[in-house]
């Protein structure tokens, strides 16, 4: 389903389309909300309400971009309303020492969009590749050592697997800079 179809279906009240939009945006919104109110439960409530609001107004949308903007702005407003709640104020002061300003929220939104794109790229990395680069970048081994290391660890495994690992070694050499950054992040995260 492409984006324009998705929006059409959504406008017509198709729940699968609604779910698809939820899947696409909920994490970014949770990330922004939690980054502002510093409370996971509250962030979830906010995002939930925003998606309900989206459903109620579904007939007004013609493209995914405006849905995205609507969702973010609604989260922003909801956060500001909740911000009046004293508890949140306390938490916020303790962490940041500054009130919620528009540009703080806008920075957070940009950050969420960047995170989303990085997260996707990381998820796309093949697991075998991760293993090899782990030794290379994390353990600080040379390519030679990595190969040796893997030979030892796969001693009992069939020759087929050895071949697969050898090809991964080649893959490692051709990693782009961007790829290397993703792998580094991956290793720091898990």
């Amino acid at each position: 389903m492409d984006d324009s179809q998705l929006v059409l279906q959504f406008k017509a009240g198709n729940e699968a389309a609604y779910k698809a939009l939820f899947d696409r945006f909920n994490k970014r919104l949770l990330y922004v909300a939690e980054g502002i109110v510093y409370d996971r439960n509250l962030a979830e409530d906010i995002v939930q309400e925003v998606f309900w609001k989206l459903w109620d107004r579904r007939v007004h949308f013609n493209e995914v971009q405006s849905i995205r903007a609507f969702l973010y702005l609604s989260v922003k407003n909801a956060c500001r309303n909740h911000y009046k709640h004293e508890k949140v104020i306390e938490k916020y002061r303790a962490r940041q020492g500054e009130p919620i300003e528009d540009d703080v929220v806008l920075s957070k939104i940009i950050e969420a969009e960047v995170m989303e794109s990085l997260y996707h790229a990381i998820e796309k990395l093949p697991t075998g590749c991760r293993e090899v680069v782990h030794l290379r970048y994390f353990e600080g081994m040379s390519i030679q050592e990595v190969a040796e290391q893997l030979n030892i660890s796969v001693n009992t495994v069939k020759t087929q697997k050895m071949r697969a690992l050898r090809s991964l070694r080649l893959q490692l050499r051709t990693l782009s800079v961007g790829m290397a950054l993703l792998i580094e992040l991956l290793l720091m995260v898990k």
């Binding site: 729940e15 779910k19 939820f22 899947d23 909920n26 994490k27 949770l30 990330y31 939690e34 979830e44 995002v47 939930q48 309900w52 459903w55 007004h60 949308f61 971009q65 405006s66 849905i67 903007a69 609507f70 973010y72 702005l73 528009d102 540009d103 806008l106 920075s107 939104i109 940009i110 950050e111 969009e113 960047v114 995170m115 794109s117 990085l118 997260y119 990381i122 697991t127 293993e131 782990h134 030794l135 970048y137 994390f138 353990e139 600080g140 081994m141 040379s142 390519i143 030679q144 800079v177 961007g178 790829m179 950054l181 580094e184 992040l185 991956l186 290793l187 720091m188 995260v189 898990k190």
Partner: protein
């Protein structure tokens, strides 16, 4: 109607492209213009280019489980809300008829909804473990390893896994292995904190190892250190605590101090923060009582010497920083080489004498630091595997 120009999605896209190394030169110009527009943009830009920050933020990224749970929570309510709205509209037209319809629909709804919700929940719990299982495999290759006397090797990661593992092991060996020791080894660019059975806390620097008994028996508490560690020793006047390194014995009762004793370095260094320690040179037996604010140097060629310490510099590794104050490149590179597990070659020996001042983060790989150093100086770096060659710019040109 919902378009709002105040959210700059294009910039987010460009930063993402930049980080993934997919940006074009035209796009780079747009990005640079945005970056120089105001200080908040610049700050955001710097944060998003800091790998440590990114990695930290990626951890805060909502999980699949979290968003699936949110959906199932929303889902039931969406159905209900929709029914209620529909009923409301009909109700405006024929309020009397509604009562019966309302009951019927509600009855239907309540009878039906729990089933739907339950099914969703069941699906989620099935998805959950699989997802985490996949991540756990990636996580299992850690930079810190615990080796027991029985030769078992356990990868250590977060504090939780760590204390869980230690507890499990301690239980397993309790009673019949009184003098059992564990060894914790950190890989390059990794640090680790461990609490010993007496309540002493030890922060272990990279490429170091600490051997310690699971429980301290007898009249003395003894641990063996290679590399560098910061000790916050629990007070116990009856049981002195001794750190044994390649060159020295360091005896204390209860205090905080840092010991550096990497095998490749000519000197052992013990820096005292509070309390008092006795440093003894192994080969000559010379003993020195150190007072806070000072550090004792033990080397193979010279007897113990004492000098004032620079606390921030001694503790930089604990703060995940490198601190250099007018440091010759030769020594600076030595420090980087130890942390990252690399070998350094000076193609132009004169470059060793260049001096540097700065506070730098301990990035996960050395590349960022090398870039920073070469940007601010006349040296170039060539990296191949775990070897680094350093040349001065003039000589190369």
């Amino acid at each position: 109607m919902h378009q709002d120009d105040s959210i700059d999605f294009q910039i987010a896209e460009l930063i993402g492209k930049y980080l993934r190394d997919e940006i074009t030169s035209e796009e780079l110009i747009v990005l640079e213009r945005w970056r120089s527009q105001d200080s908040r943009n610049l700050r955001l830009w710097q944060e998003l280019n800091d790998k440590q920050y990114l990695a930290e933020r990626l951890k805060a990224w909502p999980t699949d489980t979290q968003s699936a749970a949110l959906w199932s929570k929303m889902h039931g309510r969406t159905n209900r809300a929709r029914f209620q709205r529909r009923i409301w509209r009909i109700g405006a037209v024929a309020a009397v008829l509604l009562v019966a319809v309302l009951y019927a629909v509600r009855w239907y709804e309540f009878a039906d909804t729990p089933n739907i919700v339950d099914r969703t929940a069941a699906e989620i719990t099935q998805i959950g473990p699989n997802v985490t299982g996949g991540q756990a495999t990636v996580a299992s290759s850690a930079g810190v390893v615990l080796i027991t006397d029985a030769g078992e090797q356990i990868a250590l990661e977060g504090e939780q896994i760590h204390s869980y593992q230690l507890e499990k092991l301690a239980l397993k060996w309790k009673g019949n292995h009184r003098s059992l020791h564990h060894t914790i080894k950190t890989a390059v660019a990794n640090t680790y904190q461990v609490e010993l059975s007496d309540g002493t806390n030890v922060w272990l620097n990279a490429a170091s190892s600490l051997r310690y008994p699971v429980a301290f028996e007898g009249e003395e508490r003894k641990v063996f250190l290679t590399g560098e560690a910061y000790f916050d020793v629990a007070k116990d006047a009856d049981k002195p605590f001794t750190v044994i390194t390649g060159k020295s014995y360091i005896r204390v009762l209860g205090t905080e101090f840092n010991v550096r004793s990497y095998p490749g370095e000519v000197e052992d260094r013990t820096s005292l923060f509070t309390g008092s320690v006795n440093v003894q040179r192994k080969s000559s037996g010379t003993l020195f009582a150190l007072t806070p604010g000072y550090e004792a140097i033990v080397s193979d060629v010279q007897d113990i010497s004492v000098r004032r310490m620079v606390a921030s510099k001694v503790l930089a590794w604990k703060e995940n920083l490198f601190i250099f104050e007018n440091e010759p490149l030769g020594e600076l590179m030595g420090e980087l080489a130890t942390w990252y597990g690399l070998t350094v070659h000076f193609e132009d020996p004169a470059a060793k004498a260049y001096r540097f001042t700065g506070r730098l983060k301990r990035y996960p790989t050395i590349n960022t630091l090398l870039d920073l150093i070469s940007e601010t100086s006349k040296v170039t770096f060539r990296v191949n595997g775990d070897q680094i060659w350093i040349n001065s710019v003039e000589k190369k040109d």
